[in-house]
Amino acid sequence: MLQVEHLTKVYENGTVALEDVSFTVPDGQFLAIIGLSGSGKSTLLRCINRLIEPTEGRILWNGEDITAASQEDLRRFRRRVGMVFQHFNLVHRSKVLTNVLAGRLGYTNPAMALFNRFSKEDVAGALAQLERVGLREKAFARADELSGGQQQRVGIARALMQDPEMILADEPVASLDPVLAHSIMRYLEAINEEDGVTVLCSLHFLDLVHRYSDRAIALKEGKLVFDGLPSEIDDEKFKEIYGQEAERVG
């Protein structure tokens, strides 16, 4: 279970990205995070695995305080939390396989990195994950030779390599066309349903929220303005979240 308590993030330039955000995610839930660009969705996701240090508040994972964790504890927490990014964030010049194996770094000894070595099991595992996302034959291609949708599948395989209990997906389909978006979302859905992995996913399109998520929370200017079922987002709620001038497109 993930508990976010009174989370606040103020950037060095004074921007308040998150203000007193609290919510709880039970294990196995598919949680959609919605809100305008700049409403703090990315900051929230990055605060959870402390890619961004929160200014105030606590984040508890199965009762353990992540915000107070030492570097070593943080490493152990992060390796169980996969992350998927809007721009895929693959290392372009590396092989697809290496990119997927990077998901294993939290488990491997740092000294092995000097020799660029992974165990046989890890390599086999990486190939299996690539198989799962249908990219087994691309394992030895360079990451930048792949299309956007394929790159995001590699990103998912990398997250799966971590053997995750939770996946943080930061607008995983915002850079993809609608058809691809659904295919990527279906992978996340499968991971959520088959493996019981908790998924926190920020999304732009409400129809994706309706279709894939169990629950939605909405951020507006860093504040939590909605927490409930996707079906509860009616026109009034929508205008509250996205502003008066907004129109629904999907």
Partner: protein, 758 residues
């Protein structure tokens, strides 16, 4: 343009400062012509000053004499001294009477008009049938018994092989007919048909074959009869390759100077196979027997005789005559080739050395890597104390290790044994200490065991490095004498050994500092976790004072070394107090903020050092290094390497700063630590720009090394400068040509390689 401006101003009157905006822009518009005028005046004055100071003088450009010198230089440059022809003198003589009287026979190709005259009178000499544009010297051969000639004129024939010149008859009246001689120099041979030219180098009037015969024996005479003779063989490069002294009972002792002879023998003598085997007195000379491999070319070899007791030189002679081909590649071209090779290798060594230093340093000069590194005050002060102490311990340990290994240093077998054992143990222990997969949280006992094992493995690896250094040194030295022509590979291995030796101490110091710093930071975490805040605060301040004092005293020692103050109060006491105060202040300030962003401090320090080093031209650095290690390419490569390291570190670090942050974020999110993050997300992104910048730098270094020789830094610059100073522009032209070719080739090659790999 003005239109648009008007509109924007009237469109948004409210956006500006209603009342204030209008007049201020209007005022600016009114002042504008004035400002422009002032700008023009200032520019004129500045450029006038610049002209004054750069001594711009256009009359020099158009002056006749200057133009003539320029033409001479440009023509010389257009005729680089690449090929040497031996020449044959050809003469045509014609009789002349001074004054008129004696009968003279005319010559059809050299006509004097009139054919006689008084001294001081002018006659016209017309030559025909010469080579087109041939250089002809006209000489007067007076009627004396001495072999002298007087130069009358020199002239170039026209394209038909004709010339006409007026000369003044010299004041050498005679009753007999005298002679005017036209001398031309005929080049011997052509490239298609090269000719062997014989030179009686040893001046014995006999044609000796410089190629050793079947028996490999050659006997020749050296001038200079001394009681106890000593003879040295000197190769064409001027190095003494063999030296023999004949004592009371003659004994050939190759290469060993006996008695009190003090003759410089080149320390590393090229082994040519030519040896002195006998010295005998023969009349007023010494008859020397030498032996060498059949077919050996003794051209340009010399022998020098000395007094075997006092070392006084008695005479030098060529061993044999020389036979050369004409035309042939000139000596200048040969030297230039050697030197340009030296230049390219100098640049290579400098680039490689700079690269090795710059790659690790580039990371600490990259803002995006260093930005997030911060430590607590407790850790900072503990680490600050631990680093110098650890480094000192490391140096001490390295000395101890050296003493330990010293007894085996001559026993190659033992060294190999120690090396194998040390490396195998280090590897095994490291594997034991570092599990490939971290599947559980290690207990404290496990952590301690791992740390101890790692330190042991590290120490063993260091011992391995030391043994390797010793092995390389002895093996290299041994190989040098065995390998013959490839002896330089042996020297290289020996040099590598020496580099390892130096690196060993450095690495030991770094390792000591690293281990202790790691311990200190663990200690720091423990202290912060277990002790109440107030106690931590007091500890921070006290240790901050200690750390500040320690570092200030270290800096004081450096200052003392530079200025030789040598006064306890100034170099120890005062710095200690000042440092302690600064330390306390830093600790207090750090406590307010919680953490100290040490990464940024290191980043700024590294940047400052790189920028300072980079701003000093390698030419200036070379001057310092020439003083330190002596003139030559080594000094040049050191200077260039230092500059390259700073420049590359800066260029590299900018590349690190400009990489895409996404992959870094993604890899960090997987739980990777800093090292893993750098290797898996930073390194793949920076490899192409690193290659590109290294090539670019190597290109710059080749260009730079061509002029390092101007200050004694080796490379082609030294002979270029010599030739310019000697006004030997044809030789200088060869060197300039070589530089142009090499730089252009490098430029082309590096751009091609960059295209391919980036």
């Amino acid at each position: 343009m003005a239109d648009i401006r008007e509109r924007t101003e009237t469109d948004q009157p409210a956006a500006g400062h209603d009342g204030g905006g209008e007049p201020s822009t209007a005022g600016r518009r009114r002042r504008r012509p004035f400002l422009i005028a002032v700008g023009i005046v200032v520019a004129v004055v500045v450029y006038a000053l610049a002209f004054e100071h750069t001594q711009v003088d256009l009359t020099q450009i158009s002056s006749e004499t200057r133009r003539a010198s320029l033409e001479r230089i440009l023509r010389a440059l257009a005729h680089p001294d690449l090929v040497t022809y031996d020449t044959r003198e050809e003469t045509i003589e014609v009789e002349i009477a001074i004054p008129c009287g004696p009968e003279v026979t005319p010559h059809p190709d050299l006509v004097i008009e009139p054919s006689c005259g008084d001294p001081g009178e002018s006659v016209t000499i017309t030559g025909t049938g010469f080579e087109p544009r041939e250089f002809v010297e006209l000489r007067f051969v007076p009627d004396t018994e001495f072999d002298i000639t007087l130069r009358l004129a020199s002239v170039n024939a026209d394209s038909d092989g004709r010339f006409q010149v007026d000369v003044v008859l010299p004041d050498r009246p005679s009753e007999r007919a005298q002679t005017i001689r036209a001398v031309t120099q005929e080049p011997i041979g052509t490239w298609r048909n090269r000719v062997e030219v014989f030179t009686d180098a040893n001046e014995n009037g006999v044609e000796d074959d410089p190629i050793l015969g079947e028996d490999g024996l050659h006997i020749f005479e050296v001038a200079g009869r001394v009681d106890v003779p000593a003879v040295a063989l000197i190769n064409p490069a001027g190095e003494t390759t063999d030296f023999v002294t004949a004592g009371e009972s003659f004994e050939a002792v190759s290469g060993v100077a006996r008695g009190q002879v003090a003759i410089p023998i080149t320390e590393e003598r090229p082994d040519t196979g030519l040896r002195i085997t006998g010295i005998e007195a023969s009349g007023g000379n010494l008859s020397v027997t030498i032996e060498g491999p059949p077919g050996f070319d003794m051209s340009n070899w010399r022998a020098a005789a000395y007094d075997g007791v006092t070392g006084e030189p008695a005479g030098t002679t060529f061993i044999s005559d020389t036979i050369r081909l004409s035309p042939r590649i000139s000596e200048t071209a040969r030297i230039t080739f050697d030197k340009i090779l030296e230049t390219v290798f100098l640049a290579l060594v400098a680039t490689t050395a700079g690269l090795l230093v710059a790659v690790p340093l580039s990371f600490i000069a990259a803002r995006n890597i260093m930005r997030d590194i911060s430590v607590t005050v407790t850790n900072l002060v503990l680490i600050l104390i631990a680093v110098p102490v650890g480094a000192a311990l490391g140096v001490l340990a390295s000395r101890a290790a050296r003493d330990l290994v010293a007894p085996f240093s001559d026993d190659a077998l033992a060294l190999v044994g120690v090396l194998v054992v040390a490396v195998a143990l280090a590897y095994g222990i490291a594997r034991m200490a570092l599990p490939t997969v971290e599947d559980h949280v290690p207990t404290r006992a496990e952590r301690v065991r791992r740390a101890v094992l790692l330190v042991v493995a590290g120490a063993l690896a260091l011992v391995g490095l030391l043994v390797l250094a010793l092995l390389f040194q002895s093996a290299g030295t041994a190989a040098r004498s065995v390998l013959g022509w490839f002896g330089f590979v042996g020297s290289f291995v020996a040099d590598l050994g020496e580099i390892f030796d130096v690196a060993f101490v450095l690495i030991a110091a770094l390792a000591g500092a690293g281990v202790l710093a790691q311990l200190a930071s663990k200690l720091g975490y423990a202290i912060r976790r277990r002790t109440p805040r107030s106690v931590v605060g007091v500890l921070d301040v006290v240790m901050g004072a200690a750390a500040g004092a320690l570092w200030a005293v270290l800096v004081g020692q450096v200052i003392d070394w530079f200025y030789r103050i040598d006064e306890f109060r100034t170099v120890v006491l005062i710095p200690a107090v000042v440092g302690a105060v600064v330390g306390v202040l830093v600790a207090l300030r750090g406590m307010q903020r919680g953490e100290v962003r040490i990464g940024l401090s290191i980043y700024y320090a590294a940047r400052t050092v790189f920028n300072t080093l980079r701003s000093i031209e390698p030419l200036v650095m070379a001057i310092v290094f020439v003083v330190w290690v002596g003139a030559g390419p080594f000094a040049g490569s050191l200077a260039l390497a230092l500059h390259t390291a700073a420049a590359l570190a800066k260029l590299y670090s900018e590349q690190v700063e400009s990489i895409s942050p996404g992959p870094i974020e993604a890899v960090r999110a997987t739980g990777a630590n800093r090292l893993q993050t750098i290797i898996y997300s930073v390194v793949p992104q920076i490899v192409p720009p690193y290659i590109s910048f290294t090539m670019y730098r190597w290109d710059i270094n080749v260009r730079m090394s061509t002029i390092l020789g101007f200050v004694g830094g080796g490379g082609i610059g030294s002979i270029l400068q010599q030739n310019i100073n000697l006004l030997n522009y044809r030789a200088a032209a060869v060197q300039m040509l070589a530089i142009a070719i090499v730089v252009a080739t490098m430029d082309w090659a590096s751009s091609r390689l960059r295209e391919r790999y980036v």
